[in-house]
């Protein structure tokens, strides 16, 4: 499993692997929003939690079709399916690789972008915490979506249509954590719910994704 993880990480990081693109996109959105909404600090501070979460979500979305595309093209997906490592495990490893190359960098970069968007001081810790807790869910949900559409030639847009509604509960609770935390209110409820979603998704979706890949390989 470690070998698979390292291989996927190496593939993502080398040129053409899209590693920096997610971060660049994240930055661009953080610049676009003030351009669209106006530079007024108060407004930006109010919507910063939501913008940062939506931007992180979209940046995650960008690299999803990559998860299985390369393997599907050169036939290694079939090898993975018939290898001694259970397909569910391979899928989980791919989700982890996606998170390490997308979700984790986003979580680390987010506080910097929070400065650009006038995030209130109390919100920074909660921003990092909510993203750290929620981006794994985004990766594993996205892996499921990628598994569904792996057989399709130009499945990118369809992938977005399928995955974005599944992202909504995570988005709602994640942004809510940052908003409440920034105002000093209690965050226990959304925090617990977000953790629940991530835990449930990590436990169950690899099975659904593996089933989808087997169907697509038939």
């Amino acid at each position: 499993m470690i070998a698979l993880l390292l291989r996927d990480l190496r593939l993502a990081v080398r040129s053409g692997g899209g590693f920096g693109l997610g971060l660049a996109f994240f930055l661009i959105v953080a610049v676009l929003v003030p351009l669209g909404v106006g530079p007024e600090g108060g407004t930006l501070g109010l919507i910063a939690p939501g913008i940062l979460w939506v931007a992180a979500l979209l940046a995650c979305l960008l690299s999803l079709d990559r998860i299985f595309a390369l393997d599907a093209e050169d036939g290694s997906l079939e090898l993975l399916a018939t290898a001694p490592l259970p397909l569910e495990g391979a899928v989980a490893v791919k989700a982890v690789a996606h998170w390490l190359t997308t979700g984790l960098p986003l979580t680390l970069a987010a506080p910097v972008l929070g400065v650009l968007l006038n995030l209130p001081a109390d919100g920074y810790g909660w921003l990092a915490a909510s993203l750290a807790l929620g981006t794994p869910a985004l990766s594993v949900i996205g892996t499921f979506g990628a598994a569904l559409t792996v057989g399709l030639k130009r499945g990118g847009l369809l992938l977005s249509l399928l995955v974005l509604p599944l992202y909504m509960p995570t988005l709602i609770f994640g942004a809510e954590i940052v908003r409440r935390g920034a105002e000093g209110m209690a965050v226990a409820t959304p925090l617990a719910l977000l953790a629940g979603i991530t835990a449930g998704a990590l436990a169950l979706l690899p099975f659904a994704a593996a089933a989808a890949i087997r169907v697509n390989l038939r």
Binding site: L148, L162, L166, M168, I197, A208, V215, R218
Partner: protein, 242 residues
């Protein structure tokens, strides 16, 4: 005779052929009866005036929007477990109907809200939940359309329906939480469960029955079409192979 006999396409076509005229007739009677009764012969509400009449469309449509997805969930499970093609096709057939009912629920909900909230759209938890359901329907239909092989499509859309159902329920609770958090106290929902007095209740019941029967009629019709379409595709493929 077991219910599973109807999972056989030929049996389904035979049975649905004679059932259809009856269901259609009943649907038309119930719908027309309920709507006419509700529209012309019920009084205005003390608080909401004549807009209460929208209830006869909004509530049944919303109920069926959810029930249609529930039916898709059940038939998807039956396909995954017992591999009855009719089941998979019935799920596919139900989706556009559920989509339309969701749209009706959204439109009537928004229009009903306009006099109450002063705006054509408000992010009320119930309306938002239906908007999300609309997106789930779109995704499901899009996936069916995107995949060539019918059995692969049936499998993948069934898995999507399963996973989607879990997230749809999650979203419902998330959205409740989300709206509550922002607008502490103010309850903007349309409160369709508030005490509906008898004078509205009976025509409403008739409309609900009408929508249920309309759903059944359309699902039967569309499933028959799907069965024929599948046979058509197989015959054309056979031709091409020569």
């Amino acid at each position: 005779m077991s219910l599973w006999e109807y999972a056989n396409p030929k049996k389904f076509m035979q049975t649905s052929a004679w059932v259809l005229p009856w269901v259609t007739g009943l649907a038309v009677l119930a719908l027309l009866g309920g709507l006419v009764w509700g529209f012309f012969f019920t009084p205005d509400d003390y608080k909401q005036g004549a807009t209460v009449k929208i209830i006869y469309l909004h509530v049944p449509a919303a109920m069926m929007a959810i029930n249609a997805w529930a039916m898709m969930l059940v038939t998807s499970l039956i396909w995954l477990i017992r591999r009855h093609h009719v089941s998979a096709l019935a799920a596919r057939a139900a989706a556009p109907i559920g989509l339309t009912f969701t749209l009706i629920a959204l439109a009537t909900g928004a229009i009903w809200g306009q006099p109450m909230w002063g705006t054509w759209w408000a992010w009320d938890p119930r309306l938002t939940a239906f908007l999300i359901l609309f997106l789930f329907y779109l995704g499901y239909i899009a996936l069916w359309e995107a995949i060539e092989d019918p059995d692969t499509a049936a499998d993948l859309t069934s898995v999507l329906c399963l996973v989607g159902s879990v997230f749809a329920v999650l979203s419902r609770y998330a959205v409740n939480f989300w709206n509550q958090g922002l607008h502490q106290g103010a309850s903007l929902s349309l409160d369709k469960e508030e005490n509906v007095s008898d004078v509205y209740w009976l025509p409403l019941l008739l409309c609900i029955a009408g929508f249920v029967l309309l759903f059944v009629t359309l699902v039967l019709l569309r499933t028959r079409t799907e069965i024929r379409a599948r046979r058509l595709k197989a015959l054309i493929a056979r031709e091409r192979l020569g």
